[in-house]
Symmetry: C2
Subunit: 341 residues, 2 copies
């Protein structure tokens, strides 16, 4: 990497002071004669000058970088979220530092340290649920943290953008109940996650509204990573009274669940009706096409970026904002009446 020209090189070559060059660089920061501006611009062009972000950021904090801290990006849900966040940020001239936690507390805390050292203007994160002290510290430092998808109840001061998990799960289970199912299973996220808990709560609401028994054996919490979804399926199928319908409310485990069902030779929807929380184009290509809960990822992203940046620009309303967007239940063909087997 050979030496790049600095602002002083440009100033010298253009026969002006660095202050003038800086003003050319930041229109509105002071007056510059049109002729001078032209000359400076020409020099910058021929010298191939690019101002260094690092130097600029030394003065003021970087209002130009956003930290995006996700569990992982292999999961298409997070991938699409990342894509939209990046686009929203770029549209505002902001760059995104992407980090992943692999759902691991220790990694999460390391990533957070890095973000603190970078003095990023905002952080959008799917928290693992631990590292409470660090999140609190970040808040005290005045960092603009937004939790997306999940949240941490013991940190009520943080802005949150998520889908209405309770309602989505309620609607899914209600649909199955309406088809006449009386034993409806659910495989949700870990109980330590708000998404996991909220979806189970919604499920229970629907059961109660339909006047159905609440059999805790039909409620399974599976970790986000690994093959926990498959194991939950096996457990459900080997029950004395297995479910006739299943809500897969853990997006990260949908494919492992379906694989296990296929291996077990369970036919959908004849033997088992299925609704999945997942919006991949593949769900429609399955045989039968799957009934899904679609999460409006673009909205999640837009609101998150907006919150992270509006806070940064000092519009601290004081109260933390919680935005809950509605998911959409899309009926296809994986739900039928029970007992058609």
């Amino acid at each position: 990497m050979q030496k790049q020209p600095t602002i002083r090189d440009v100033a010298h070559a253009a026969g002006v002071s660095v202050a003038v060059v800086s003003r050319v660089l930041n229109p509105g920061s002071g007056p510059v004669a049109a002729a001078t501006r032209g000359r400076v611009n020409d020099v910058m062009q021929t010298l191939g000058y690019h101002p260094r972000t690092a130097a600029r950021e030394l003065k003021h904090g970087p209002a130009t970088t956003l930290g995006l801290l996700l569990a992982d990006v292999s999961n298409p849900f997070f991938a699409r979220l990342a894509d939209h966040v990046v686009q929203e940020a770029h549209a505002r001239g902001i760059q995104v530092l992407l980090m992943t936690t692999q759902e691991d507390d220790r990694l999460e805390s390391e990533r957070l340290s890095t973000l603190i050292e970078r003095r990023v203007s905002g952080i959008i994160a799917t928290p693992t649920g631990n590292n409470l002290e660090i999140w609190k510290k970040l808040q005290d430092m005045g960092a603009d943290v937004v939790f997306v998808d999940r949240s941490i109840p013991s940190l009520p001061e943080v802005d949150v953008v998520s889908i209405n998990n309770t309602e989505s799960a309620r609607a899914a289970t209600a649909l199955l109940a309406a088809h006449g199912h009386r034993r409806i299973g659910i495989i949700s996220g870990p109980a330590s996650s708000t998404t996991g808990r909220d979806r189970i709560a919604g499920h229970r609401q629907a059961l109660e509204a339909a006047g159905l028994d609440q059999d805790d054996l039909l409620i399974r919490s599976a970790a986000f990573r690994g093959a926990a979804g498959g194991d939950a399926v096996t457990a459900l199928l080997s029950l004395e009274h297995p479910p006739t319908a299943l809500v897969v409310a853990n997006t990260a485990q949908v494919t492992t669940v379906l694989r296990r069902l296929a291996h077990a030779g369970v036919s959908i929807p004849d033997e088992l009706s299925v609704i999945v929380f997942e919006d991949s184009p593949w769900t429609e290509l399955m045989t039968p096409p799957l009934t899904i809960v679609r999460q409006p990822i673009d909205l999640l992203a837009r609101h998150s970026v907006q919150l992270a940046l509006s806070n940064a620009s000092g519009q601290t309303s004081g109260k933390p904002t919680t935005i809950r967007v509605e998911a959409e239940l899309i009926e296809r063909s994986s739900v039928a009446r029970p007992g058609s087997k």
Copy 2:
């Protein structure tokens, strides 16, 4: 964001000079008495001190940030690539600035400017194919550019990591030929992309080796974005002599192709044998499970990061490196003998 403590605050509180604090911060940069080190560390702890990356980067270039410039991250292929790149980078203490081009030259050039201004230590990119001058300039600046997945032939000086596209497509088409297919179609990426061209070349090699006619009507180039894949399917199906087998060599268009086939009521593999370049878990869940070409994304990522960083550390071998990893053809059930209809 309230005022954060600086190195001078720490120095003052610990009763030492900033030089000592800096040495504590960077072990190996000079001697510090054990007692002093302890005291300084304690002070940093209680003050909640975090050194600012921006200040550190002012001195030397940032050997700590990598630019990752992808088409988009909605595409699971790029998403998994991003995931692995981030993990590899984190393992080396490097952060990743994620940017997307949406396959748009103008956006690409904007992103590149940003990366130049940040003086990132390396760039891993899937180039759109344009912006030749900027890439060249980056090279002249001594930036460490690595093209991954695709490349630009007129920039032979850049390191490239990709799969062996020609061989992968050849193997796919050869498998279909071995099953007795004589009219084999291919839907590949745009002719402007190396992946698109190379896969078509491999396809032609296989046809020739099998002694089959080369009917250009069976060779379709579809853009990466939009629904071009579906349209290509329609075109192929409405041919006077439609193909009996199809290679979908454009990962971004696999689902649009399959959707169109489903809508057209084409049954796989009875009416049409299919091989897709795609490694989603969903391919195995389809009816029938799809025969696929699996791309070793982890290897692509590992090699890219390695190249981007090894160059950065001054091990410029002089000659550009090209690493080609082999894809794996995984036979499942979407290929059968023709005419079983």
